[in-house]
């Protein structure tokens, strides 16, 4: 890739990165504690769950879809995983169960959208309610708590001072980047989102790949559920409320277009970090959570407005 191609490719993400750096500098000036290693690792750890879910969301949005069910899938896979752990099922198998439950819910979304021809909004809105209800039914509304230290290591452990969730997050991003830029699934995701009819006529098995993308989103929600459960040492049927909004926000701030066909995985990481940094900074500054909500909402709107203004300028 020539430098010009690189800019064409990542120009938008570059802008987001500058936004993130600006934010970091402002917070550093306002509260010097912000830029300590321990706080930054803290931010990364807090960001990891949203960042992982946002990867699936990015794939979905690139195909011009949306997944509103991620938060509920986190809750449902979390409680199933927790009950498996408490039934003394070996750790690797329990983890696999968590991932499979998430992937299964996602695939159901995918099948409803492709073969059932439901709009993604409706299908995943339904799943949002179904999975939440299932989590509540499964647990009778009570949390399942108390796990082995081996399992909890997934959230509390460190490797070379770096928290395990952060390592998992980085791995997920590396793999996702490769999948999106180097594999058929990635190529086809962009093609489907860009023009579904043209993709069909170019021989893309649109239904199959779309279903896969929703399955992937579900599976990553399952992964997020594992980390969340390990961190809280408890699986709650009401966990993951509003997660879909955070994931959509991270994706959109990162430059992925809701119209589909456009987006980079690295942008989503930066978007998720912006959300995490903002939350952390506002907490450090002692800003009330009411104000925080308002600020974060405004940031999302401003980010998208700036994005559109930049795009218009290219004309």
């Amino acid at each position: 890739m020539t430098p010009k191609d690189f800019l064409l490719h990542y120009g938008r993400q570059f802008g987001t990165l500058i936004g993130l750096l600006g934010l970091v500098i402002v917070l550093w000036i306002l509260t010097p504690y912000f830029l300590t290693i321990s706080n930054l690792l803290n931010v990364a750890q807090q960001t990891s769950i949203n960042a992982i879910i946002a990867v699936g969301m990015t794939f979905v949005i690139i195909t011009a879809g949306i997944d509103l069910s991620v938060g509920s899938i986190v809750a449902f896979s979390g409680v199933v995983l927790a009950s498996a752990l408490q039934a003394a099922i070996p750790l690797p198998i329990a983890i696999l169960i968590g991932l499979v439950v998430g992937a299964f819910c996602g695939l159901v979304n995918g099948v409803l959208i492709t073969y059932g021809r439901l709009p993604p909004f409706i299908s995943t809105l339904g799943m949002m309610s179904v999975a939440r209800g299932a989590a509540l039914l499964y647990t009778g509304g009570r949390p399942i708590s108390g796990f082995s230290s081996g399992f909890r290591y997934l959230a509390t452990g460190e490797i070379l001072y770096i928290p395990v969730p952060v390592i998992i997050m980085v791995l997920v991003y590396v793999v996702a980047h490769v999948v999106l830029t180097r594999t058929k699934l990635g190529r086809y995701a962009y093609a489907i989102g860009g023009n579904e009819e043209a993709a069909v006529l170019s021989g893309v098995s649109v239904k199959f790949y779309k279903a896969m993308v929703y399955g992937l989103s579900g599976m990553l929600s399952g992964l997020a559920a594992i980390i969340l459960t390990a961190r809280l040492n408890s699986a709650q049927p009401i966990a993951g409320m509003m997660y879909e909004l955070d994931a959509i926000a991270a994706t959109v701030i990162g430059g992925t277009s809701l119209m589909g066909g456009e987006g980079r995985i690295i942008g989503t990481l930066i978007g998720a970090l912006i959300m995490g940094v903002l939350r952390n900074g506002l907490n450090l500054l002692g800003v009330s959570s009411f104000v925080q909500q308002t600020v974060i909402g405004s940031v999302i709107i401003i980010a998208v407005l700036m994005d559109m203004a930049l795009k218009k300028q290219r004309k």
Partner: protein, 498 residues
């Protein structure tokens, strides 16, 4: 400045990142004239008129309208100034009715504050009737054919009471008869004092409808002359800066084995009892009017439309072609007539579009070999002279003709050897047309078989080895290349089989 000059452009320059689309271009438009803009694909014609329609902002230069220097700030502003445009690519809202589209943005409002639907439909119907076309204003645009949609575009521009009307390749999707109707409308508009800027690649048309012509080449102004004072070949050499020897450089290739045979193929109510065969090395031209079932035939061979009866044999084996994927695996490629909605993914890069049907071939265990992709894309961009600043350029920023070449590259890249070309040279300049014909020669020489659907009879006659004429979903007649005449084909296309 002459008295009847309405618009003057001086030193117009327009740059895009990495591209100089227009450089020091001048242009003058008189009251009541049809002024042709001529140039090869990517010469900058669309860019120039988009500056006038407010879609783009000029980088430098002067626009003088009615002796006043102005800046055209937005499409809305252009409309207020009396400049209307019909784009090369349609800009209609498919879900809305023809009438609603015509008055989109200028809805009459009731005293109650609601839109006056009845009034809209009635006035739209008036404009459509005036145009001499049979379109119901209340019908949804999605139910209209390509030609009818084009007419709705024309009506939309007329509804604005424009003094300057810009038409960017308005006839590329129209039949001969519709073109005649459009020209009548244009003449009527001229009499009313409307000035028309007209872009088309069909040189015959220019002599029929144009008063003056301005030629652009590579974004630069070449010359302006009276149509009456120039010849076709003079215009061509101004455009391409070289002599074009033949318009249809047809070479006959050796006829090889049969690759496709269709027996009794039918789709209820659309296609009836279609039977033909296709051999390697051969171009089968399919002529017919719009709606004669040619495109449906193509989609059924490509696995898009389900067939209700009949058999399809590909390379000797009976096949049920249930999806485009299946068709592609059998070596069939389809160049659709509508490149914007079916052929291309506008938002993706030139490379990604060229390689899309071949991704399977370029992948091992799910991983795409990017180097192979780039190699292939580079080859076709070079082979077909696709004008693009880089492989990464999004195809929406390419000119219409170059977009078409990208679509053709897609099918060459995936090594299809049964190629169905639906209107392959629509919107393509004379130079590139000849390039595409040469390419067809090369493909047939290499053993490919081509089905060429075209509404341009000279092209059908000039490039086919055999010609099939369709009428109302049936094959009305079949000719070998030598024996067909334009009259015969038209006769069968209009009247059906005797």
């Amino acid at each position: 400045m002459k008295n009847d000059t309405v618009l003057e452009l001086h030193h117009i320059r327009k740059t895009f990142p990495g591209v100089v689309a227009l450089d020091d271009v001048r242009f003058e438009l008189r009251r009541g004239e049809v002024h042709i803009l001529l140039g090869e694909n990517g010469a900058g014609k669309s860019t120039l008129v988009k500056i006038l329609s407010g879609a783009y902002q000029k980088t430098a230069g002067q626009i003088i309208l009615d002796r006043q220097e102005i800046d055209i700030k937005s499409p809305r502003h252009a409309q207020e100034l009396g400049i209307a445009i019909i784009y090369q690519e349609f800009n209609l809202v498919p879900q809305l009715s023809a009438g609603e589209n015509i008055f989109l943005g200028q809805e009459q409002i009731h005293a109650s504050g609601l839109i006056n639907q009845r009034e809209i439909i009635a006035s739209a119907q008036g404009i459509l009737d005036d145009l001499g076309v049979e379109i119901e204003a209340r019908k949804a645009v999605s139910e209209l054919g390509v030609a009818q949609q084009q007419m709705v575009e024309v009506a939309k521009a007329l509804s604005l009471d424009a003094r300057i009307l810009i038409m960017d390749e308005p006839t590329s999707a129209l039949t001969e008869q519709e073109i005649t109707e459009l020209f009548n409308t244009i003449r009527r508009l001229k009499q009313k004092g409307v000035s028309i800027i007209y872009i088309s690649h069909r040189l015959e048309e220019l002599f029929e409808i144009g008063d003056r012509v301005t030629v652009l080449r590579d974004g630069k102004y070449i010359d302006t002359c009276n149509i009456a004072d120039v010849s076709k070949s003079e215009l061509i050499s101004m455009m391409v800066n070289r002599e074009l020897k033949e318009h249809f450089p047809k070479l006959r290739a050796a006829r090889g084995e049969e690759v496709l045979r269709v027996n009794g193929l039918g789709i209820n109510g659309v296609l009836h009892d279609i039977a033909f065969s296709l051999h390697r090395g051969e171009v089968l031209g399919i002529a017919g009017l719009l709606g004669s079932g040619r495109t449906e035939l193509a989609s059924s061979l490509f696995g898009v439309s389900r067939i209700d009866s009949g058999e399809i044999y590909v390379k000797g084996k009976r096949q049920r072609i249930k999806s485009p994927r299946r068709a592609i695996n059998l070596g069939i490629g389809l160049l659709t007539e509508d490149r914007k909605s079916q052929g291309l993914i506008m938002i993706l890069s030139t490379k990604d579009n060229i390689c899309l049907p071949s991704v399977e071939r370029f992948s091992r265990i799910g991983f795409v070999d990017t180097r192979e992709e780039i190699q292939a894309a580079t080859q076709y961009v070079g082979d077909l002279h696709i004008k693009t600043p880089s492989l990464q350029q999004q195809v929406m920023f390419l000119s219409g003709g170059n977009q078409q070449k990208v679509v053709i590259s897609k099918w060459l890249c995936c090594q299809a050897d049964i190629l169905i070309f639906d209107e392959p040279t629509r919107g393509i300049d004379v130079g590139s047309k000849v390039e595409i014909y040469h390419l067809m020669n090369r493909l047939t020489a290499e053993g490919a078989a081509i089905i060429m659907i075209s509404s341009e009879l000279p092209e059908i006659l000039g490039m086919s080895d055999r010609i099939m004429v369709m009428n109302q979903g049936r094959i009305a007649g079949e000719f070998s290349a030598g024996e067909a005449t334009q009259e015969q084909i038209l006769h069968y296309a209009l009247e059906g089989a005797a």
